[in-house]
C-alpha cells in the first residue's frame, strides 16, 4: 500500500523502481520461508545464511539445485527492467508489466499450493512428474515481498493501459483489496467447502458430504414427539425468535427516545451501550446465578409457590433470554438512526390529511422504517446464529450449530469434515437471511432525507402504543440493571452460593502486581498475560481495520471501475459469515503451507480485520457520501493526484467515521469469542478465551471479576474516543461550510 505518487513526466517510473527493488530484496536477501524466530531478531543470519535450507533467500534455494521451482520467479523479476526506460504511453511498457506481474504472481501461488510439507500436494502431479524428493514450508518474508512486488507491478501495468484513468494509486488499491479479501475471506471459505467432501483416506467424495449433511443430529425433528431436535432446526428457530424480539424491543427503545417525553433518555442510551461491551457469556452466568436450579429468583419463587425448583432455564428459554438481553442494543442502534431519519414533513402531511396519530404511525412512519427493521432483524439473526458463549453455558440439551461446530473440532470426535458441513449449513442460513432481507426491501425508495429544510417535529406516539412500549422498555431496563448488579456483586463474592462473604480475592488473583525493592513491577496476576495480549491485538487490529475499511469505502464511493458490484459484495461477505465459521475456516486454511499462521498473533489480527472491516466500509461510505465530489475534483484540477487527494482532502473530513470504525473494531476485538476460541494459542491467549476457560473450571468469581474489569477498561476507551469524536464534530461544523465554498 506504500504506492507513492508517480510523477507524470517522461519515462521515470519511481513507483515501479521501488517495487522492483522490493521484489529483488525479497528474492535475493531475505529468507524465503518462515524462520522460527522473528525475522527482525536477525538470528537467521547466524544459522548458515545464505545457504542453509531453513533461512536461505529464494535465489539460493533455487540455484542450490534442490528447489529449482523457485528460479522462474527470477525471469519475472528481471523482465520489468525492460519496461523502465519506456514511456507509459508505450503499449510495450504496459504489456511487459502485466505479463511479468501476472505470471510471476501466478507462479508463486501455483508453486506454493502444489508443493507442501510432503512434496507434491496433489496425486495427479505425482503421477505426472514423479515423486519430488523435497518439500517446503510456509512462506516467509522473502516470499511475501516478492508477491507484493508482482502484485503492484501487475497493477501498474493495468494502470498504464488506462484502467481507471491510468491512476496508479487507485488501481493498486483495488488490486490490493481484492487480493487480501481473496486470501483471507474467499480462500478459507472455499477451502472449507472442499474439506466437507474429504474422506478418511484424503480422497474426495460427495457421499461423505451427504452422510454428514443428513445426520439426525443436524436435521432430526424428534422434539415434536418429546425427543430432541437437530441443531440446524434449533439454531434456525432460535435465530428467528431472537431476530424478531430484538427488533421489536429495539424499535420500542428507539420510539421512546425519539417520540416521547421520556425524561431519562440519556440514561437509557447509556444502558444500551453496556451489553455491547460485555464479554457475551457473562450475561449467561448472571442468568444462571438468578434463574438456575439454585438461582436466587428460582428459589424465591419456588418457596412462595411451594413447588420444587426446576432446571427450566437450561435450554432454549435461557439462551433466548441471554441473547435478547445481549443483542437488543444492536437493534436499537440500527433503528434509532432510521426512526430519527423518517422525515417529520411526511408525517405532518399525513396528519394534515386528517389521519390520526395511530393511522399516521401505521401507514407512514412504520413503512418508512422498513429498511431499519430489516437490518435490525438481520443483525439479530446473524448474531444469534454465531453466538457461542451463551449456548455454551445455558444450552443444556439444546444443541445449536455454533457449539456443535466447536465440539466437532475440539471434542473427542475430532471431525473437521463434520465441522465444515455444520459451518456450511450455518453459512447457508445467514446468507439466506441476507438474501431474504434484500428481497423484502425490494427496489422501493425509502429516501426521506433530501437535504432540503426539514425542520418539523416528530409526532408523539399514539397512546395505545405508548403504554405497551413504556412497559416493554421498563421491564427490560429493570432486568438489565438487575443483571449488571449481579455481575458486579458476583465479582466480590467468595464462592457463589456456598460462601457469600465479600472479598477482593478474585481481583487479586487476576491482577496482582508485585513491587520489588528496586521498584520494578512484576505482573503476577494470572490474567495479565491474556489482558496485555488482548489490548495489543485490539490496538493493532483497530487502526488496520479502519484503514482497510476506509480505503475500500473510498474506492466504492469515489471511483468507477468494472466489477464494482461484485467487489462490494466480496468486501461485505465476511459480515454475513458467523465468527464460528471464520474460526473453523481459518484453522483449515492457514494451518498448512503456503500460509502457515495458526498459533501466531497474526491470525488473530487478520481475523479481526476481516470480521470488522464491513463496519468500517459502511461507516466510511456513509460519511463519504456526505462529502461533495467537487472537493475531490477541485483538488485533482489543482494538480494533486488521487493519493494526495485522499490523504489531504478526504481523510481529514472523515474523522468521525474513522473513530467510529476504531471504536467498533477495538471493542469487538476485546469481546469477540466465536472466532477467537479456535485461533488462540498458548503464546497468544485472549481475554475472552481465558475467561471461558475459568468458567469451564467452575471459577465463576474470577471470570466475572475479569469481565467486570474489561467492561471498565472498554468504558474508559469508548468514553475517551467519544470525547474525541465530539470534538471533531464541532470542528467539522466550523470547517465544512468554508471548505465547500
Amino acid at each position: 500500500m506504500q504506492a507513492i505518487a508517480e510523477t507524470k513526466t517522461g519515462s521515470a517510473h519511481p513507483t515501479l523502481l521501488l517495487w522492483l527493488v522490493v521484489g529483488w530484496a525479497g528474492f535475493f536477501i531475505l529468507p524465503w520461508y518462515g524462520v522460527e524466530d522473528s525475522v527482525f531478531t536477525f538470528g537467521w543470519l547466524f544459522e548458515g545464511y545464505p545457504l542453509d535450507d531453513d533461512v536461505a533467500p529464494g535465489f539460493f534455494q533455487g540455484i542450490s539445485g534442490k528447489k529449482g521451482w523457485l528460479l522462474p520467479h527470477l525471469i519475472f523479476l528481471i523482465g520489468p527492467i525492460f519496461a523502465l526506460n519506456r514511456p507509459r504511453s508505450d503499449p510495450l511498457h504496459a504489456k511487459i508489466l502485466i505479463i511479468c506481474g501476472a505470471l510471476g504472481f501466478g507462479w508463486l501461488i501455483a508453486q506454493g499450493f502444489s508443493i507442501g510439507i510432503r512434496g507434491w500436494n496433489f496425486g495427479w502431479q505425482e503421477n505426472l512428474f514423479g515423486p519430488l524428493g523435497d518439500r517446503q514450508f510456509g512462506m516467509g518474508t522473502g516470499a511475501m515481498l516478492v508477491a507484493s512486488a508482482f502484485l503492484f507491478i501487475l497493477t501498474q501495468g493495468v494502470a498504464a493501459r488506462g484502467a481507471v484513468n491510468g491512476d496508479i494509486f487507485v488501481v493498486g488499491a483495488i488490486g490490493f483489496v481484492i487480493t487480501i479479501v481473496a486470501i483471507f475471506v474467499f480462500y478459507p471459505i472455499f477451502n472449507m467447502l472442499t474439506s466437507a467432501f474429504v474422506t478418511q483416506d484424503n480422497s474426495y467424495s460427495i457421499s461423505v458430504f451427504f452422510e454428514k449433511f443428513t445426520d439426525r443430529r443436524l436435521w432430526g425433528l424428534g422434539c415434536l414427539q418429546g425427543g430432541r431436535c437437530g441443531a440446524a432446526w434449533n439454531s434456525l428457530v432460535l435465530a428467528i425468535l431472537v431476530g424478531m424480539t430484538t427488533t421489536v424491543l429495539g424499535l420500542a427503545f428507539a420510539l421512546v427516545v425519539t417520540r416521547t417525553g421520556f425524561r431519562f433518555k440519556r440514561g437509557l442510551r447509556a444502558l444500551t451501550v453496556l451489553p455491547i461491551i460485555t464479554p457475551p457469556f457473562v450475561i449467561g452466568l448472571a442468568i444462571i446465578l438468578l434463574f438456575g436450579l439454585s438461582g436466587n429468583v428460582t428459589r424465591f419463587v419456588a418457596d412462595i409457590i411451594g413447588i420444587a425448583p426446576t432446571r427450566w432455564v437450561y435450554g432454549m428459554p435461557g439462551v433466548l433470554i441471554a441473547q435478547i438481553l445481549a443483542f437488543t442494543p444492536i437493534a436499537f442502534l440500527v433503528l434509532i438512526g432510521v426512526v430519527e431519519g423518517v422525515s417529520p414533513s411526511m408525517e405532518e402531511a399525513a396528519q394534515t390529511l386528517r389521519a390520526n396519530r395511530w393511522e399516521t404511525f401505521r401507514t407512514v412512519s412504520l413503512p418508512l422504517m422498513r429498511p431499519g427493521l430489516a437490518n435490525a432483524f438481520l443483525l439479530g439473526f446473524i448474531e444469534s446464529m454465531a453466538d457461542f458463549g451463551n449456548p455454551l453455558v445455558l444450552g443444556g440439551n439444546f444443541d445449536v450449530l455454533s457449539t456443535e461446530i466447536f465440539f466437532a473440532i475440539v471434542g473427542a470426535q475430532y471431525d473437521q469434515g463434520r465441522a465444515a458441513v455444520l459451518a456450511l449449513v450455518l453459512l447457508a442460513f445467514t446468507l439466506g437471511a441476507f438474501w431474504a432481507q434484500r428481497f423484502w426491501l425490494g427496489k422501493k425508495s425509502y429516501t426521506t432525507m433530501t437535504g432540503k429544510g426539514d425542520s418539523g417535529v416528530h409526532p408523539l406516539l399514539p397512546k395505545g402504543l405508548a403504554i405497551p412500549v413504556y412497559a416493554i422498555v421498563g421491564i427490560w431496563t429493570v432486568f438489565t440493571i438487575t443483571i449488571y448488579t449481579m455481575i458486579v456483586y458476583g465479582s466480590f463474592v467468595e464462592l457463589w452460593g456456598v460462601r457469600n462473604d465479600l472479598t477482593f480475592k478474585h481481583y487479586i488473583t487476576a491482577f496482582s502486581i508485585d513491587f520489588t525493592q528496586e521498584g520494578v513491577r512484576k505482573y503476577t496476576g494470572s490474567a495479565w498475560d491474556s489482558f496485555w495480549t488482548t489490548l495489543q491485538i485490539a490496538a493493532i487490529s483497530a487502526p488496520l481495520t479502519a484503514a482497510v475499511g476506509l480505503v475500500t469505502a473510498y474506492l466504492l464511493t469515489r471511483q468507477n471501475f468494472a466489477g464494482k458490484n461484485s467487489f462490494e459484495f466480496g468486501t461485505m461477505l465476511s459480515f454475513a459469515i458467523p465468527g464460528t465459521v471464520i474460526g473453523v475456516s481459518y484453522i483449515l486454511a492457514f494451518n498448512v503451507p503456503p500460509l502457515e499462521i495458526t498459533g501466531t498473533g497474526v491470525i488473530l489480527v487478520v481475523s479481526f480485520i476481516f470480521r470488522n472491516m464491513p463496519v468500517g466500509v459502511r461507516a466510511g461510505i456513509a460519511s463519504m457520501s456526505q462529502l461533495d465530489k467537487s472537493l475531490d475534483e477541485s483538488s485533482l484540477t489543482l494538480g494533486a493526484n488521487s493519493w494526495q487527494t485522499f490523504l489531504n482532502v478526504i481523510l481529514p473530513l472523515l474523522k468521525p467515521a474513522i473513530l467510529a470504525a476504531l471504536v467498533y473494531s477495538f471493542v469487538r476485538a476485546m469481546t469477540a469469542i466465536s472466532a477467537v476460541i479456535f485461533l488462540v494459542s498458548a503464546e497468544y491467549n485472549m481475554a475472552t478465551s481465558y475467561i471461558i476457560g475459568r468458567v469451564e473450571n467452575n471459577d465463576y468469581g474470577l471470570a466475572i471479576a475479569y469481565s467486570t474489569s474489561l467492561i471498565i477498561v472498554m468504558l474508559a476507551a469508548v468514553g475517551l474516543l467519544q470525547l474525541l469524536v465530539g470534538r471533531t464534530n464541532i470542528g467539522r461544523r466550523h470547517s465544512r461550510p468554508s471548505s465547500k465554498n
Binding site: T41, I117, T141, I288, G292, R311, G497
Partner: protein, 341 residues
C-alpha cells in the same frame, strides 16, 4: 508474513530477544492436561534444568491429530498428559519413540504395563478412576437416598438428577460407556445406559462439566472421573465422591516422546524428570488429584485411594481402537440417545 507482523506484536520482546541470541537448549512440549498443570510442569522443568520449554496445550485428540499431521516434519518433542488411548494409537502408528527410562523402579505397575503394551513408546504418568459425585445439600433437599452403586443411578427417584457428558464429544463419557460394556457385558451395559438415559437431565459437552454443575447446585449427581469430583469438594463445594460398589473403569494419563524429535536429549531429560516424585507432587499445587505413577509422590488425603477401589481389568487395547470406539458410539447414538426421556 508471519514473522513481520509477529514482530510488530511483540516489538519489545523482540528487542530483548535480539540481545540474548546465544542458542539455549530448548524443548517443545505438547501438553494435554489442564492448563495450569501444564504451566506448572513447564515452569518446573525450566527451573530444574534451565532448558527453555515452549509449551502448547491442546486436548489429547487435537494433539494426536497434530502429531500425525506433522509426522514428516515433527515440531514437538514430548507429549505429556491426556488420556491413554491416543497415546496408544500414536504408538501403534509409529508416531512416537521407544524409550526405556531408568525411573521404572519408582513407578507403579500399571504405569509400566501401559509402557510394555505399547512397545515402550509411552508410559503412565497418572491414573484416575471413574465414579460419580453428588451435591449433598441438594440430595438432602430432595429427600433422596445416598447412591452407592452404578445401578442405584437408574432408580426412578433420581429422574432428572443425573448428568453425564456426551460420549460423542467427551473421552470421559466414552470411558463410562466402555466401562459399562466391560462391567455388565455388551447387552447389560447398553441396558444400563438406556435405563440411565431416563434419569439424565443433560448430556454435557465436556467431561467434567456434570460435577461442576453439581458443585454450583445446578445438578445433583454427576458421572465423572473421581479426581474431578474431589477437586470440587476441595474447592469448597458440597460434593461427596462415590466409588461405585460394582467396580469401575479407569484411565491412564500417558507421556510419549515424539518420533523424530529435534531435541531428543532434552526430551529424555524431561521424560525422566516428569516421572520423579518431585515433579509429580506438583499436581497438588494445581488441585489435580489423579493418582501419580511414582510411588514416592505425595498424594492429597482427599484424593481417591486406588487400592481401595474395585477396578475392573480395563482392556485399553480393545476399547481404545478406533473401530470399536466407532461401533459403540454408533450403537449408543442409535439405541440410547434417541429414546424418549
Amino acid at each position: 508474513m508471519k514473522n513481520i507482523q509477529k514482530t510488530l506484536l511483540v516489538a519489545a520482546a523482540v528487542l530483548a530477544a535480539s540481545t540474548s541470541m546465544a542458542s539455549a537448549a530448548k524443548l517443545t512440549l505438547y501438553c494435554s492436561a489442564q492448563e495450569d498443570w501444564c504451566q506448572s510442569m513447564a515452569r518446573g522443568f525450566e527451573e530444574a534444568t534451565g532448558i527453555d520449554v515452549n509449551m502448547t496445550r491442546k486436548s489429547s485428540g487435537e494433539t494426536f491429530a497434530q502429531v500425525k499431521a506433522e509426522s514428516s516434519n515433527p515440531k514437538g518433542d514430548v507429549w505429556w498428559g491426556g488420556t491413554g488411548d491416543p497415546h496408544l494409537q500414536a504408538a501403534e502408528e509409529d508416531l512416537t519413540e521407544p524409550y526405556v527410562t531408568g525411573m521404572r523402579g519408582e513407578l507403579n505397575d500399571w504405569a509400566i504395563s501401559q509402557a510394555t503394551s505399547a512397545g515402550d513408546r509411552t508410559i503412565g504418568i497418572y491414573s484416575g478412576a471413574l465414579g460419580y459425585g453428588y451435591n449433598a445439600d441438594l440430595l438432602k433437599a430432595n429427600n433422596l437416598p445416598e447412591p452407592k452403586c452404578w445401578k442405584d443411578l437408574t432408580k426412578p427417584e433420581y429422574k432428572g438428577h443425573v448428568q453425564m457428558a456426551n460420549p460423542n464429544s467427551s473421552g470421559t463419557a466414552y470411558t463410562t460407556l466402555a466401562t459399562m460394556v466391560q462391567l455388565f457385558g455388551e447387552d447389560g451395559g447398553f441396558d444400563f445406559m438406556k435405563a440411565l438415559h431416563k434419569n439424565i437431565n443433560q448430556y454435557t459437552k465436556s467431561g467434567s462439566a456434570p460435577i461442576k454443575a453439581a458443585g454450583r447446585g445446578e445438578n445433583t449427581i454427576g458421572i465423572v472421573f473421581m479426581h474431578d469430583a474431589v477437586k470440587q469438594a476441595v474447592s469448597g463445594f458440597p460434593i461427596k465422591v462415590v466409588a461405585p460398589c460394582e467396580g469401575t473403569g479407569y484411565e491412564i494419563g500417558s507421556m510419549s516422546i515424539i518420533k523424530g524429535s529435534r531435541n531428543l536429549d532434552e526430551a529424555k531429560k524431561f521424560y525422566d524428570w516428569a516421572l520423579t516424585a518431585v515433579a509429580q507432587t506438583r499436581a497438588l499445587e494445581v488441585k489435580a488429584y489423579q493418582v501419580p505413577s511414582n510411588k514416592g509422590a505425595e498424594t492429597s488425603p482427599s484424593a481417591p485411594d486406588l487400592s481401595s477401589i474395585k477396578l475392573i481389568d480395563y482392556d485399553f487395547k480393545k476399547y481404545g481402537s478406533s473401530a470399536e470406539r466407532k461401533r459403540l458410539l454408533k450403537k449408543w447414538d442409535d439405541e440410547v440417545s434417541t429414546l424418549p426421556q
